[in-house]
Amino acid sequence: MTVSKENIRGSHALLECLVAEGVDTLFGYPGGAIMPVYDAMYDYSEQLTHILARHEQGAIHAAEAYARIDRKTAVCIATSGPGATNLLTGLYDALLDSTPLVAITGQVLDSLLGSDAFQESDIIGASAPLTKWNYQISDAKQIAEVMRKAFYIANSGRPGPVLIDITKNAQIQILEEFSYESNKDNPKVNIRSYRPLPKVKSQDIAAAVELIDEAKQPLILAGHGVHIADAQDTLKAFAEKTGIPVSTTFHGLSSMPAGHPLYVGLPGMHGNYGPNFLSNESDVVIAIGMRFDDRVTGDLPRYLPDAKVIHIEIDQAEINKNVPATVAIHADAKQALEALLPLVAEKEYPEWLARFRECDKKEKELVIDDLVSTNEDGTLKMPQVMRMVSDKTEGNAVVVTDVGQHQMIGMRYYDFKSKDAWISSGGSGTMGFGLPAAFGAAYAEKQRAERTGKAARPVIAVVGDGGFQMTIQELGMCSQWEVPVKILLLDNNYLGMVRQWQQLFFDHRYSQVGLTNPDFVKISDGFGVPAERVSHVDQLNDAVDRFLSAETPYLLHVEVINEENVFPMVATGKSVAEIALTAEG
């Protein structure tokens, strides 16, 4: 259905585009250069809910998680100048973590561009390297075409953020005629310079099948692309037919349920022992929707020395970028897996799989058992807390994290049983992401529950004492919207991850990693978010119960021991096979 309107202002036309694209939620912050759009929102309150963050960074991180949880394009909106520049960190985060986002920024009048007018910033120039595409609308007649393109580009191929800057004159300009055909109504947008969805080539599939069928010790590395393509079930079917062990990358996490007989955990710097230690022994690696980030490969020249690599990847620029592909399948992960599935042979690799289980056993005995157990003095450790939350939620929560040790602990100790359940800042490691992102995820869960009639999954924000303070003001957003974000603050009174590196690699010289923290419970209370603090194991069980049963946003402030380190670890410059289980090696 094409929307057609007469005598409509640019600001209204812009909102018409959003509504036509199926957008019902905006995350943003108003200001001078975007006021006509905010004024128009008044007329669209039935169709569009605007969520007012406390800082534009909060708005965009919320939008990111909202987008990622069910793969739909999210919209955030800000004014010109500082409003727009406050979005930059989020754009960068969304670019690196392939998040479909349309950011709308106000801009000064067309006639003032280039004059250093009040709150004029060259946001097109500034955001160019941080966006998949951007464009400045300075005439309302461009709105329909540009918005159509924006939504198409943001959520096709490898998704990413798009920024649309709109000058104030274009917002107030009256269009005698306006019509808009949404991407839902007509998904085919023809942009000759942008062809996002490659066809699966049968010769590539045939070459891959041959390698797969002849493999002796194959390994699947399933990345973010599996989640983005909604290919989790296909991945599982493919793994079960071929019998190949599956390791999920940081962003692939929750694509295979924990405890699945073929699931062998995470590769990479703080991943599991097996997929690091054994990956260099695999003869065929099937990399699906992942980009061989340096956090995954360790020392690149010593990564996968003997493996033939089948790389399934939708972004051509990622193929042969870090690890050369023996067979490249330039395609959507789901389409590629669907093409492979009927052709591959049924196989099993009991001995190979047993070696992963041996590694698991070793990791459990040398690392995990101790960390999830109770200290004699009753002090608490992050893994112990995380494991309890995992058990009590039966692995069915959505976990959103900030960045640091607690993030690695969330990743390692939450046993995901449901898919689309892990949201964290990976490529950019943005501290401050956790709280606003958890809000966005919880809001999306709430909407999903309303849509499907199923219960919303609990959303747990795992944050550290450092990163929490970077966007702590978004407690206000949580309390205003009464979205039941469960904030699990794992407080080690340190910028823990940096402290860990200083301890291990900088000769224990702690430089600027100690924090004098505020009273988090009081702060939370001040925002109207109920909170409690625990520091002893005797308090933990009941506190976690209260935390999980709360129907409002809730802060559980857990004081954990200060100088725990995250292990295993593939230190920078080491080969993945040199993964250390403990500080002693």
Partner: protein, 188 residues
Amino acid sequence: MDLNAPEVDHDAQHSYTLTVFTENVPGLLSEVVSVFTRIKMNIDTLTVSASRIEGIHRFTMTIDCTKKLIDKITAQLEKKVDIVAAFAYLSHEVVAREIAMFKIDTKVLNDEKTKKELIDLHNPAVVEEHDNYAVLIKSGKEAKIQAMFDYLEPHDCIYEFVRSGRIAVVREMDPFSKRLDSMDKEFH
């Protein structure tokens, strides 16, 4: 042209001519250049102009780097939404020329011996001649232009010297149209 041909050493330095086809939208120059600045790479020459196809701009660049790197560069360029295609060629795969303009003191042309030598050796076109200065144009391979500059320089007569940077056509028949066709076939 097959850059995957085995005789190309992937780790050795080569001189590449890049042709990049883009939509004609504002900001594209910096988009193209950012691919290079990001990796601290010098672009030796860069020219931008309209192409044969309406609405498509053509960038020609010369870059010294390895095959490994040029493949990554073309992939990063093509990843940009408004860039249609990027091709990298070795010297033998293109016909490349440059144009240079010299604004010189007219005294050089007034001296018969020097004038004759200049014309015989370098054969520039004299496009304007005034009492105090003259404008010469020389087109040819980069080395030829350099040679003319080297000849004039000792005469202490050059007021201005400007080079266009390399422009090139490729020996292959219409790779751009072929690419558009293959994109139609290979994408949904």
